[in-house]
Symmetry: C2
Subunit: 159 residues, 2 copies
């Protein structure tokens, strides 16, 4: 089972995450950009994820909402910078519960022997913003997502 | 004459710039957002600056072009995140000569006794991107801009 390595160095306002999946790059890219697929893996298992908008093009907006069992909604949105492709995705990221705190995600997908290494660099405006993101419990969401994406990629390749 | 202090710490993918202007905050905000005013001060003196677009609202795009004496154009663009106000401006920044290398600028304007301290934090995807920005000769453009903005703010207050 893929498990993301999360690196957050002291004093540097970034989080670097790497994870290798047993699937070709084009399929991993689809899983990261196709709304129907995204809804099946992104986020903690106990939240329902809804893709409100995902306009995968230069300047296009994305907005996702996670809903908990009590019906509380947590929205996230951002804007793609440059044309997303299997080579990479650059997008901004803002949690609607903390407006004005914007980070930028740079994803790169590298294929090696049919497996794909996903590397995500999140760049924050301040180390405090980065630390708040980690303190929010993101690690649980990331590791649930790893498992769910691993399962989804296996299903897609079996099907 | 105002002069921007530029700080770029080793290993940290950011540039922090601070500069104090002898003008109230609302006027400095206008100078940073009104296209007619921006064109009068932003960039090196030997380039002509044209505001192609400056949609100062959440999700709005901006695009500026600097043209040199030989007619060569250098374009820059980005997107505002959140509603710009005298409290602050958050926007992405991309030089069109190096697509895919996107930074995020957070400007805050603080007024003290009729003077305004402008603090800009530029967050880059990598230290290499930050160093490339510095190596591009940005300091000359920043200091020309300081002088030109100081002169413009004086004219606006005299007028």
């Amino acid at each position: 089972m893929a498990k993301t390595q999360i690196t957050a160095e002291p004093g540097i306002p970034q989080i670097v995450m790497t994870c290798e999946f047993d699937a070709p790059r084009d399929l991993v890219f689809r899983a990261y950009t196709d709304p129907d697929l995204l809804q099946q893996w992104l986020g903690p298992r106990d939240l329902t994820m809804t893709v409100i908008q995902n306009d995968v093009r230069d300047g296009g907006k994305w907005r996702f909402v996670h809903t908990d069992a009590g019906g509380h909604e947590h929205g996230f949105h951002g804007i793609f910078h440059g044309t997303p492709s299997p080579d990479g995705i650059v997008r901004t990221f803002e949690y609607e519960g903390a407006p004005g705190h914007v980070s930028m995600e740079t994803l790169t997908l590298a294929e090696r022997g049919g497996r794909t290494l996903v590397r995500t660099v999140s760049s924050f405006q301040a180390v405090e913003d980065r630390d708040a993101m980690i303190a929010s419990g993101m690690e649980r969401g990331v590791h649930d997502s790893d498992e769910r994406l691993t399962e989804l990629l296996a299903r897609l390749q079996a099907g």
